[in-house]
Structures are given as C-alpha cells and as structure tokens.
Amino acid sequence: MAVPPEAAEQAAESHESAASAPKPHLKRDHVVIRFAGDSGDGMQLTGMQFTSESALAGNDIATLPDYPAEIRAPQGTLAGVSGFQLNFSSNEVFTPGDEPNVLVAMNPAALRTNVEDLQPNAVIIVDREAFNESNIKRAGYASNPLTDHSLDKFQVIEVDVSKLTSLAVHGLGLNNRAAFRCRNMFVLGMLSWLFQRPIDSTIVSLKNRFKKAPELIEANIRVLTAGYNYGETTEMFASSYEVPAARIAPGLYRNITGNSATALGFVAAAVKAGRPLFLGSYPITPASDILHDLSGYKNFPVYTFQAEDEIAGVCSAIGAAFGGAIAITTTSGPGMDLKAEAVGLAMKVELPIVITDVQRAGPSTGMPTKPEQADLLQSMYGRHGEAPVPIIAASTPADCFDCAYEAVRIAVKYMTPVILLTDGQLANGAEPWLLPDPEQLAPIKVEFATNPEGFLPYARDAETLSRPWAVPGTKGLEHRIGGLSGENLTGNVSHSPANNELMVRTRARKIAGIVREIPPTEVFGDAGGGDLVVLGWGSSFGPIREAVKHVRAKGKKVSHVHLRYLNPLPRDLGETLKRFKQVMVAEMNMGQLLKLIRAEYLIDAFGFNKIQGRPFKVSEMENRINRVLEG
C-alpha cells in the first residue's frame, strides 16, 4: 500500500493546527522509497543507513542501489544521478519494489530521471534550493518543474535542505563544501521521523565512519538530528507513518548484500574445509566488492591476489588449487570471456576452483552497473572441446552465501571447476540474512592423497568418479598434469583415439553424476501440476515469487519453480514441468534457460524475457502471467 493521498490533504489541513500537538501515526504495510541525487550526494549511504534503521525496526526489506557507470559525472547532469531504492514491509518482501511511493530528489536531474517510475500520488521530497536556473537547465527541463504544474499528480514537499543544513552546522567551522556534503543526513533525519525509525543506530555508525575526522561526526549528527526535529515540527508533514515489524523467522539477523554474502560463503567453505582461501581476481564492476571484502579477512587465512589481468586471476587460482588451497576467482562477463581457456584447463586436469560471474548487462562492455542473466549459455558451452562444468546460481542476496559455499563443496568433492552465477542486482541488492550457525553447515571434506603405494593421479572414486587431490610436497606422489590429452589413470600424455574418448566421456559422467547432490525440485504452488508454471533462475526469483503469490491469491493455478543447479539440472525437473499445462521461463536474456529446457526435455516451453539491464517488475510479471492464462 502506498503512502496515501491523505499526506497532502492533511498537510494542508494541519496548516492551521498547533505545531506543539503530537502528530498522529498512520499505519502502512509497506513502503518503497527511492533516494536520488548526484553521485556525490551520498545517496547510497543515506539509503543503506535508512535500511539499517528499518531492519532494526523489524521490517522485512529488500534494497537496490542504482548508480551510474561514471564515478563522478558532471554535477547536476542526468548521467550523474545515483539512486538507492528500499522496500520495507510488515510482510515478507521479495523485491526492492516496482514503483516508489516516496522519491527523494536532491536536484532536478534526480527528479527527471526517476519521476516516470513513480505511482500517482507518490510523495516527492525535493531540496528546493537545488532547483535553481542552472540545475534546471542542466537536467534538460524547459521550465521549473516545481512551479509549472507538471508534478500536479504527485505530492511535492519542498524543503530548504541546503539552507537548513548549513544553519545546523553553523559555528563548527566547516567550509561550504563540507557543510553541503552533510545534506544527505538532513534528509535521512527527516525520513527517519516520517517513518518513525530511531536514529540511534545511525549515530553510532556515523561515529565509526568518521572516526578520523571528529568535526564531521559532530556536524553529521547535528544535521541528522536537525532533520529529525524538522520532520516533527514542520507543518509540511501532518502525520508520520508506521510500518509495523514483519513476522519473520526468529533468530539473529544482519543486512547483507549479495557480494558480501558471496565473500562470506567462500570464507566459511574454506574454514570448514580446513584450508586457506585463495582469491585471484582482476577488478571489474560489479564483482570488485568480493575482492574488497575478502582482502579484509587475512587472518582466516585468506589470500587475495589482485592479478595483472582476468587470465592471471583464474590462472593463479588454478596454481593455488594445485597446491591445495580453496581457490576461487571472481569476475563479470568480459572477464568470463577471457578466463574460458583456463577454465577448460582446470576442467581437464581436474582441479577444484570456483569461478564467480557477477553477471552484468552485455554484450561487450554493455551496461556495467546493470544486471542481466545472459551468461548462462556461455557458462554451459563457452569453452572449446567437450568441457562440461557444474553451474550454480544464487537467487537472492543472502542466497549468495549458500551458493558460494555449495560451489566450493561441489568443486572439492568432484575435483572440478564450478561456475557460480550471481548478477549486479544480487551483488548490490541487500536483504536481512538469518545468520547461519557454522556448526550446522554441510561438511566439506578435503583429504589429500598421501599413500605412494599404487598411486595414480587419475584413478577415480567409484561413486563420484573424482580423482585424488595430490598436492606438491607429498613424498612419493610426484606426478605431472597438463592440458594435453592424458592417459587414463596415469595422466601421461596420450594421443590414443580410444583413450581420448574414454576420458571425455568419463569427465562428462563425473559432472552429470553431481545430480545425486541435488535435492528434489521444490514447487511453490501446486506440486501436482496446474495451468502454468513459471520457471526461473537467479535474481528473477523475487519478481516471479511475488507475482505468483499475487495471482495465486486470486485463485489462479500458477506455480513457481526456481533453479539453483543449472548444470546438471535436477533429476526430476523434466517430469515436474510436464505436470503443468504451460511452462514459462522468465529470465533477463533472450531465452537461454529456455533453450536448455526445450532441448533437454522436449517441452514446448516459452519465454518471458527482458534485456534492459533492469529486473522484472512484479507488475509486468503478473500481467504477463494473466495474459498467458487468458490465452
């Protein structure tokens, strides 16, 4: 439910009322806020801090930053607008929300880039002083949108944020620039009051953030408090809103982004395996935060090697895996292209590494900060020769932890590279994460070969077909591995035709056998079948699940199946899908999982595709489902 039209009416009514009387709280079950401003305006920080406040208030939340590819585009321009969206609710939420109920626009450019996404009657909070002639012109407006009635269908609240901020820091000796940079805290304070969020946690966080600049602690806290008090006393807000706590599973929570969860999943896996973690990586958007996070966990121990290029990133991981480390590399699409040959080597010599692809919108450089799911077929087939690799895809930010952990578990158990697919949406999006108990995590067993008697580097475990992990330093196990076709058991160079086929088929059987690890397919909805099943993978989980919930609430026989394991596919997937009259595969690409499903099961599935660097909206998913049902 949206922040209602009453806001404006009551604002008008309250004009006459005494400011001293306590204002009423109005209850809402969920609110979507988008913070937008220049990329230097601190909107990401504001958003994240408001998210923390909301999480502490017990709401279920989902967030998504939307930042430009340019680090600091010229001030006031459309290209420089940075946004952060938060959906907080007293119910379970699956997405950052389709359309904001509240937009904070710090300048005209921020307004212009975001206004089209708003619901009618949405609340727009603007910094009035930022709507000056030059900013208005720079944003491409012919006239001032605050006065030309183009915003009449919205409730516009104009606040002199800049002026009130500089008044709040008066006397602290801050220069204009430093004072201006505190504006975001005024907005945060004001919204904290509007939605009845305590600001204590933000104060603690500001103290940590500016530890080295005490004058900024004081300034930011003053501005934050001034914003909060302004909300309380100003006549512009007739009431505040309350989004009561959600009913979520009990336990200890923290808010987590997909990239942070991925990093933690790898650390957890290495700790459970009792081996050091080694990351070889080259900086690339939107994957770099995994490198940043892991570089702070040295004492576990975690090695991070910022390589000279993407190829060296994966190759160094292969070297570390040869030496017995839990070895990983992280990248995005362009880096996947470059790593392909090395992944083929790891597959052939059978060394365990995990390649994380934080997918972004392609092709080529594409839209680096925007999400897409178009690297699935590349992950499946993007290597020369017969080079199958297991693929795991995370569906929510917190799920990245479990998937990273699982990727390592599979890699070392089957002595194979594993590709972990996440995307820019998951990487930067955040949600509350119920902290796992390390004791309860699935065991990851690493047993290096030690016995020289009858040792053969390519002898295989009868069940998994996995070869021994024999690391340098082990006496009597000296052996050579390499990319050339290798003889069965010894691995010695061999060009025997029959041996080559045997090895290709053996490795393929090993990967196919991983199906034994995959739990039965979960159907959200009607396990026995129905009119339609929406099949998805990756970050489209949220919009699919929420849309399916909505149509099911209206009595439609629609279900949702979401895949974590993309290679191999779950054993029962074909029969599960065949129980439904129609199968729709929803993905942010031109139909990649769709092709696999049709080829694998001869099902006449069809696709719902979006390639805009933006996730599906719940509403568009719901509309599409309804159209399909109508035939």
Binding site: L56, P250, V267, G280, P301, V349, G473
Partner: protein, 332 residues
C-alpha cells in the same frame, strides 16, 4: 641427516621427445644434473610450463609438474607460490610463450618479485607450430609466415626483464653446461624472481641462430662472460675488453697504452650498467652471466607477512564472529 640426492632422482620415466639436435636436451641435462646440489627433495620442487617445445620440460622431471596453457605459467606459478611458499617453484617458457602471448604475466611476475625461477628458452623461432618468426626473431627473418621477411622489431629478453626492475637477470647458453649449471645455482640461491634467458638452438627451424657464441672457433671472440667485480675482458687470447668512450661502450684491444684499468668493471648491482650490457649487439660481444642481481623483499614473502601480522593482531579467524559482524538484530 639430509638424504643425498642424485641426478636420477630428478629424471622421470617419460621418453624425451624433442627433435634430434634440439638444445632443450642440453638444458634438461644441466637442470637434472644441478638440481641435486640444491638439496631440495623432488616432492618439494614444482616445474610449471606454458605451451611450446620448451614447455614439455616438466614431463621429463621427476618432480611435481604442470604443463598449463600458452603464456600463463608465471600466473599459475604465482598462485602456487603465494599459497605454498614452502615449495621450490620453477617456470619453463620460451620466446613465444613468455614474450608474446604471455608477455604480460612475465613482466608482472618480475615486477612483483615473486620467488620463482624462470627459465626462458630463446631460440628466436616458433618451433612447435613449425617455424613462424617469434618476438625475438631478427628483422628481415624469412619464415613460413614472413616469406618477404619479418618487419617487426624484436624484443630483447634481458632488457625486457631489466625494464621491469627484475631482481635477478642472467643469460646462458644451452650447450655451455658448466656456465648454465652455475647460472642455475645462482638463480636458485636468489630470493625473488630469477630470470635466465637461455640461448637455445632449434635444429629444425633456426639452426645455428647463435653460432657466433656457440661455435668453438668463434665463441671466444663473441662471448663476453660477466663476472661481478671483474673487468670486462673477452677474446681467444683474453686481450679484448670493454671501455667507455664518453657515454658509449666500445671494444678495445689491450696494449701497452690500454690496460685493464681502463676497462669497465662489472657490477651486478648497477642497473644502468646492466641495461648497457643488455643492449650489446654485434660487433660488440654477446654478454652471458648475471647482468643484475639485487636483494629485495619478495611478493610472496610480503603477502604471507601480512597474513601473519593480521593473525597476530586479530587472532585466528573466527567464523561465527565474522558472520555476525556489523549491525545485527534479533527477531523473537
């Protein structure tokens, strides 16, 4: 008491398959003969190679070995050495593998000073792909891919390595077993990236490329053996030397008026001198030996030190504590 190792401890059971007359045989022999002197057990030694004739090398060593992909051996070796500093890690590469497709990894490994030993076999030709010109082939080289003569200027492996400020840069020759053995020992004793360019004869596609420094009749007049602290003297009769003429080196004959005192004295720690010697081309003699050797912290050493420091400061990582870092809240 340490076990005494001998040559056969380092010889694998695989049949060596280079062409008859290939310089690689001599290099393999020198390595297998020298390794026992290091006193490092075969299981603690790893040979990593890329692609090319030289890169078959690990198959013939009874150590741990990894024949990887074209040009990437230094990157794989770096990952191994960082996470397993206890191992003795060697890279075998060639002029195509190391300087063309893998040039990036080579220079970055050298600049970081990762403690690995790189042997670059330079035969100035692509052998495994059957005779195309390489990044060290001379201008005008007629090959299968350059019937009208190559028009690109070659790399000089020594000055490339010096350009990265590599901390150990040397040159030797495949059939000079004694000298090569000495260089291997020096390279092994060095902490940091050791780089040896080994001039290597390709008997099939570039026979005699280094004749002037390998032919018994010619070599004394064309080889300049570098020795730290000694004047630069060469020639059959040890009567030629290198003197500075202003800023330019010149070869001079020793006489009553030109004595050893006039000659340049080699200093392995002088990078400018190393560059100058690295640029020697006929008619100046070809220097062999250690151009440059200085002691600097190794990359893998520094990385492992940071890990040790973090552990000393923060204690061993605690997973439960890590997972619950930051703002947490409890839902009842």
């Amino acid at each position: 008491m340490a076990t005494v190792l001998n040559r056969k401890d380092f010889v694998s059971d695989q049949e060596v398959r280079w062409c008859p007359g290939c310089g690689d045989y001599a290099i393999l022999a020198a390595v297998q003969k020298t390794m026992p002197e290091f006193g490092i057990a075969p299981e603690n030694t790893v040979f990593i190679s890329g692609i090319g004739c030289s890169s078959r090398f690990p198959y013939y060593m009874n150590t741990y070995g990894f024949h990887t992909i074209h040009g990437r051996a230094p990157a794989i070796a770096t990952g191994l050495k960082i996470s397993r500093p206890d191992l003795d890690v060697w890279v075998v590469t060639g002029d195509g593998d190391g300087l063309s497709i893998g040039g990036n990894h080579l220079i970055h490994t050298l600049r970081r000073n990762v403690d690995i030993k790189i042997l670059l076999f330079n035969n100035r030709i692509y052998g495994l792909t059957k005779g195309q010109y390489s990044p060290t082939s001379e201008v005008g080289k007629i090959t299968k891919s350059t019937p009208a003569g190559s028009v690109d200027f070659p790399f000089n492996p020594i000055t490339v390595a010096l350009g990265t400020h590599g901390t150990f840069v040397a040159r030797s020759i495949d059939i000079e077993q004694k000298h090569l053995g000495e260089m291997l020992k020096r390279a092994h004793a060095h902490r940091g990236t050791s780089f040896i360019e080994i001039l290597q004869n390709c008997s099939i596609f570039n026979e005699g490329a280094f004749n002037d420094v390998t032919d018994k009749a010619l070599k004394a007049d064309h080889q300049l053996v570098l020795e730290h602290g000694k004047p630069l003297i060469f020639g059959k009769n040890r009567d030629m030397g290198i003197r500075m003429n202003g800023m330019r080196p010149e070869a001079v004959r020793l006489s009553a008026t030109v004595t050893e005192k006039d000659l340049v004295v080699h200093d392995e720690t002088n990078l400018s001198l190393a560059f100058m010697l690295g640029h020697f081309e006929p008619p100046l003699p070809t220097p062999v030996g250690v151009f440059y050797a200085v002691s600097q912290p190794t990359y893998d050493g520094a990385v492992n030190q940071q890990l040790a420091d973090a552990k000393a400061k923060q204690g061993a990582g605690d997973l439960k504590e890590l997972l619950s870092k930051g703002d947490t809240w409890t839902v009842n």
